[in-house]
C-alpha cells in the first residue's frame, strides 16, 4: 500500500513541475530557516564543548536586590556570596566560579589583539571537558601562590605566538601584565555564553573583585550534579539558601535599602526563559509556548500555500478518488493516503531544507559571525527537522485530505469536487 502511495505521490510531483517547485520552495525555505535557527539555539542552550555530555551543570549568573517599590540593583554573583554561602552547599558534586569576561589588549609588534579574559578557580577545569592541545590547567597550588599563569585558546596562541607554534612555558603580556602560558585549549564558541574566553587566569589574581563585600558582583557560579537527577535538588538547596540571605552589613549604606534578594540556579535554556531579566524566575512553560507558537506561525504561510495547491489538485484527481472509493477505499483510508503523500512531499522539501541549512550554517561559520562556533547539524536538530516535516505534512495535508475524502464517489467519477 505504502509503495503505491509513494508511486502516486512521486508521479503527482513529476506531473505538475511548477506546482511542485512552488510547494517544495516554500517548504524547504521554511524548514531550512527553522533548522538554522534551531542549530543556533542549540549552540547556546545545548551541551557543546567545553561542556561534555556527562557534565551536568547549572549556573547562578545573576543576583538582584530590590526594595519592593520598583527600585533596586543587580548584577552577577559577588565573591562574598560565593565564598560564604554557595561554596558551602551540600548537594552539588562540584562548585566552580568564573568571572564575567573582561576585555584586554595585547600587542604583537604593532598589531593589537583584543582578548576576552576570565578568572576561574581550579575546580572550573574539573567540571568541564576542555581539550588541551598542550600543557595543563592551573591547580590549587597556582591559586594559593597567586601564580601569574594562564590557559589560552588555540586562536590566542596562533595570533600571539604564530600558527601552530608551541606556547607552553612562554610569556604572554596583556594589559601590561605578563603571564606564563600553562596550557593551550581548543577554541570555545562565543555561543557558550558562560565558558567563552580567550584567556583563563587564576581567580586569586582578581584581587579587587575578591574583596567586594556585596552579594552582587562579577562572577558566575557553576554547580555540578553527579547526574541530571541531582539538578532539581541543587536548585532547591540554592532556593533555600537565597531565602535565608540578608544584605551584608559591610555593603554600602544605599545598598541596605534593597533587602529583597532574588537569584536562581538555572540551566542555559532556563536563563533564556527568564527573558534575561535579572531576578526573574525561569518560565519554561512560557518559553515553550512562545517558541512553538512562533514556529507554527512561521510555518503557517507555506502550509496555507500547500493547502491551496493540494486543494486545487483534488479536481485533477477526482477520477482516482472515485475509482479508489468504488473499489473499496473508505473515507479514512483515502484521507490517510493523502496525508502520507503530503508527508512524503514535505520530507523531500525537508531534505532540500536540510541541505540549504547546511549551506547557510557553513556560511555563518566561515563568516565568524559567532566566534569559533562549529555549526554542524546535531542529531537532535536532525530529529527536529523530521518532526517539523511531519508537523508540516499534517498541517497542510489534513484539510485537503478531509475535503477529498468527503467527495461523493458518483461525483468524483464524473470529475466533480463535491
Amino acid at each position: 500500500m505504502l509503495r503505491n502511495y509513494i508511486k502516486i505521490a512521486w508521479k503527482v510531483l513529476a506531473r505538475n513541475k511548477f506546482f511542485t517547485f512552488v510547494s517544495l520552495f516554500g517548504i524547504s525555505l521554511t524548514i531550512g530557516i527553522l533548522l538554522v535557527l534551531a542549530t543556533l539555539f542549540d549552540q547556546i542552550v545545548g551541551k557543546h564543548y567545553p561542556v561534555g555530555p556527562d557534565d551536568h551543570l547549572i549556573y547562578v549568573a545573576t543576583v538582584s536586590q530590590e526594595d519592593g517599590k520598583g527600585s533596586g540593583w543587580n548584577g552577577g554573583v559577588g565573591y562574598y556570596l560565593y565564598k560564604n554561602f554557595i561554596q558551602k552547599m551540600k548537594s552539588p558534586k562540584n562548585i566552580a566560579v568564573i568571572s564575567q569576561p573582561k576585555s584586554t589588549n595585547s600587542f604583537v609588534g604593532d598589531r593589537k589583539i583584543t582578548l576576552s579574559l576570565n578568572y576561574t578557580d581550579e575546580d572550573y577545569w574539573d567540571m568541564h571537558s576542555y581539550s588541551f592541545i598542550e600543557g595543563k590547567p592551573y591547580n590549587a597550588e597556582h591559586m594559593r601562590d597567586k601564580a601569574r599563569v594562564v590557559v589560552i585558546t588555540r586562536a590566542t596562541r596562533d595570533s600571539y605566538f604564530g600558527e601552530g607554534v608551541s606556547a607552553v612555558g612562554k610569556s604572554i603580556e596583556t594589559d601590561n601584565v605578563v603571564y606564563k602560558v600553562l596550557g593551550v585549549v581548543e577554541n570555545v564558541s562565543e555561543a557558550s555564553i558562560y565558558q567563552y574566553s580567550d584567556f583563563y587566569v587564576p581567580l586569586t589574581l582578581a584581587t579587587q573583585q575578591l574583596q567586594n563585600p556585596d552579594l552582587i558582583g562579577q562572577f558566575i557560579v557553576i554547580l555540578q550534579g553527579e547526574t541530571e537527577n541531582d539538578i532539581p535538588t541543587i536548585k532547591e538547596e540554592y532556593k533555600d539558601l537565597v531565602a535565608r540571605l540578608t544584605v551584608p552589613a559591610a555593603s554600602q549604606g544605599w545598598k541596605q535599602n534593597y533587602k529583597i534578594i532574588s537569584s536562581y540556579a538555572m540551566s542555559k535554556i532556563e536563563r533564556i526563559s527568564s527573558g534575561f531579566v535579572i531576578g526573574q524566575e525561569p518560565q519554561m512553560g512560557l518559553l515553550t509556548t512562545i517558541l512553538t507558537a512562533a514556529m507554527l506561525l512561521f510555518m503557517l504561510l507555506p502550509a496555507l500555500n500547500l493547502i491551496n495547491l493540494n486543494s486545487s489538485r483534488i479536481s485533477e484527481r477526482s477520477s482516482e478518488i472515485g475509482v479508489r472509493k468504488a473499489f473499496g477505499a473508505n473515507s479514512m483510508t483515502l484521507a490517510w493516503q493523502f496525508i502520507v503523500e503530503n508527508i512524503l512531499v514535505t520530507l523531500i522539501g525537508g531534505g532540500i531544507g536540510l541541505l540549504l541549512a547546511l549551506g547557510a550554517l557553513e556560511i555563518i561559520e566561515s563568516s565568524e559571525l559567532i566566534t569559533h562556533a562549529e555549526l554542524g547539524l546535531q542529531f537532535n536538530v536532525f530529529l527536529f527537522a523530521v518532526f517539523l516535516c511531519l508537523v508540516f505534512g499534517l498541517l497542510s495535508g489534513v484539510l485537503p485530505a478531509y475535503r477529498m475524502s468527503k467527495i461523493q464517489v458518483v461525483n468524483a467519477l464524473k470529475g466533480l469536487n463535491s
Binding site: 503505491n4 508511486k7 475509482v323 468504488a326 473499489f327 473499496g328 477505499a329 473515507s331 479514512m332 458518483v410
Partner: protein, 221 residues
C-alpha cells in the same frame, strides 16, 4: 441475488425536482447477465450506481443476497463493494500515473493481503484478459480496447460475485467492443459472475441473457 423494489431517485434543487428513476422493480438472479438500455439521461447509470452502492435511492429497497444496506456506514459499504462488486466504466477510469499491474492490484490494496499474493492475483487477472505482456506499461501506452481490458482485469481481480459495467464498449470500435464483450460473456459463463451492463448498443445487449429498457427513469420492458 440483486433485488430492486420500488426504487426511486429524485434530484432536488431549490427550484427544480428531477426524477431520475421512478418505481424500478428488478430481480437479478445469480449468474445472470443483464443488460440495461435506454436513451441518454434515462437513468441507466443512476440505476447502476445504486446497485453498486455508490449512490442511495431516494425511496425503495435494494438488497444483495438478502442484505439491506440502509444502516451501513461508509466503511461497511466500502468493505462490501471491495469484497463483492467489480466496476467497469465507459471511460475506463484507470490511474494514469500507475502501471497496468498497479492499476489491477488496486482493489486488493484494501484487503489484508501480502504484496506477493496481490501481484499473483493481478497477473492471473491480466492473463484472463490477455494482457499479461503489458503489465509494466502505463495506461497512456495502451489502445482503448486494451485499457478497457485492464479495467476488466481490475474489476475481476478480487473475484467479485457481481460486475457492474457502465457502457464498457461505448468508447470502442465494433471489433474491440466485441472482444470486450467476449471476455464478459466468458466470465459470466465460466465463473458464474452476475453481470449488469448498461449499453447503448443493441447488438451487445442481444448477447446478454435479459434486457431491461428504461425511458425517462421508468422501466418499460
Amino acid at each position: 441475488m440483486i433485488a430492486l423494489s420500488n426504487i426511486e431517485k429524485v434530484y432536488q434543487t431549490k427550484t427544480i425536482e428531477t426524477v431520475a428513476l421512478n418505481q424500478i422493480n428488478i430481480n437479478i438472479d445469480k449468474g445472470e447477465f443483464l443488460s440495461v438500455m435506454g436513451p441518454s439521461g434515462c437513468g441507466k447509470s443512476t440505476l447502476l450506481n445504486i446497485m453498486g452502492l455508490l449512490d442511495e435511492p431516494s425511496n425503495g429497497d435494494m438488497s444483495i443476497d438478502g442484505e439491506n444496506f440502509s444502516d451501513y456506514t461508509d466503511k461497511e459499504l466500502a468493505r462490501f463493494r471491495n469484497q463483492n462488486i467489480g466496476f467497469i466504466f465507459q471511460s475506463y477510469h484507470l490511474i494514469n500515473d500507475l502501471q497496468v499491474i498497479d492499476n489491477v492490484e488496486l482493489p486488493l490494496l484494501y484487503r489484508k493481503m501480502s504484496a506477493k499474493e496481490r501481484k499473483r492475483r493481478a497477473v492471473e487477472a491480466l492473463n484472463k484478459v490477455g494482457l499479461s505482456n503489458r503489465m509494466q506499461h502505463f495506461p497512456s501506452q495502451l489502445s482503448g480496447g486494451q485499457r478497457q481490458r485492464v479495467a476488466i482485469a481490475r474489476a475481476i481481480v478480487g473475484n467479485p460475485s457481481i460486475i457492474l459495467a457502465d457502457e464498457p464498449t461505448g468508447n470502442l470500435d465494433s471489433v474491440m467492443g466485441n472482444e470486450v464483450m467476449d471476455i464478459l460473456i466468458k466470465l459470466n459463463e465460466e465463473d458464474e459472475t452476475t453481470i449488469v451492463m448498461v449499453t447503448h448498443d443493441e447488438s451487445m445487449a442481444m448477447r446478454t441473457h435479459r434486457l431491461v429498457r428504461l425511458f425517462d427513469g421508468s422501466q418499460v420492458v
